[in-house]
Symmetry: C2
Subunit: 185 residues, 2 copies
């Protein structure tokens, strides 16, 4: 399913024939931790159903991101560097994921055109996501970021509690309530 | 030079033979803008000498990052998406760069193993950089981040004015002075 998803986006820029991956399917019930902070990882996942939340543990627990179906999820920095994960990933709805062995993809980077095309494309997309979020934080108000989030992910407002959206935006829940009140008036 | 640099890191994970790039060399004097915010881009660069600063224009001009020799620099989001650049890149010392046509690399993504290996590796490195900075902002104090910056880039403190380092850390110059005083006492 992951390969079919990327093939539909990348077209002839993905040489499927030279790429051999053997995922397993996992059910991840709501509340279950898929990636634990402080641990090493050997897998990554493709989210087929459900929503997950990525958090950064610390004095104040930050919500780094939410992911919806058709997303690659995992502790990518940990896979690339071999250092323990700084993030945690938790199912906030019942999820179904395809689980891939990182070593299986990585081994194919030496010789496979398709593996490198896929790895490159995924890395580019993850970079775009992180870069947009970082620059948004630096250059836009919480109100602007909330408005754009509602436009790009209208599901969020229906499925995720307001106090969690506030933690994602990096503001107090009371500030978000004020923004919402202002916008609806 | 860029290819030799990455070959020295990637070893047999970079198939040089299938990668053909034709850079030009540019001198970029101190103060010159290499990438302008709001514009499209068709090139990326490899920094051979000097230091550049990446800024995010806005009400308050933020310093997104500094780059030192042996770095790939450019408006990567703009190249990938075709949307105008949200960042500006300025030489803060006299620089020399190798300039590459993005289209030349991108064309080779369809068939070249080496081009995809290089593009993947660069994307991974840029992702790691952005992800580290984002998680550091969410989970560490300005003091901690300053300390780590000094350890990883001791050149910064010698070559970059304190008020610019403060803007990179996202704090007031007075706060940075307090941190420095505290650390030296």
């Amino acid at each position: 399913m992951m390969i079919a998803h990327f093939k539909s986006i990348m077209g002839d820029e993905l040489d499927e024939a030279s790429l051999k991956l053997h995922p397993t399917i996992q059910k991840v019930p709501k509340g279950q931790v898929l990636v634990e902070a402080g641990k090493l990882e050997s897998n990554f996942h493709f989210l087929k159903e459900g929503i997950v939340e990525v958090t950064v543990p610390g004095k104040k627990e930050w919500i780094y991101d939410f992911f919806f179906p058709n997303s690659v999820i995992g502790a990518y920095s940990t896979l690339l560097t071999g250092r323990p994960s700084r993030i945690a990933i938790t199912a906030i709805e019942d999820c179904e994921v395809e689980t891939y062995l990182w070593a299986e993809l990585k081994d194919q980077y030496k010789t496979s055109l398709g593996a490198n095309q896929l790895g490159r494309f995924i890395s580019e997309q993850i970079f775009l996501l992180r870069s947009k979020r970082e620059i948004d934080f630096l250059s836009k108000s919480a109100e602007q970021r909330y408005l754009e989030l509602m436009q790009s992910q209208p599901d969020l407002i229906l499925k995720i509690p307001v106090h969690r959206i506030a933690r994602y935006l990096g503001i107090h829940p009371e500030s978000l309530s004020r923004i919402r009140k202002k916008m609806s008036s």
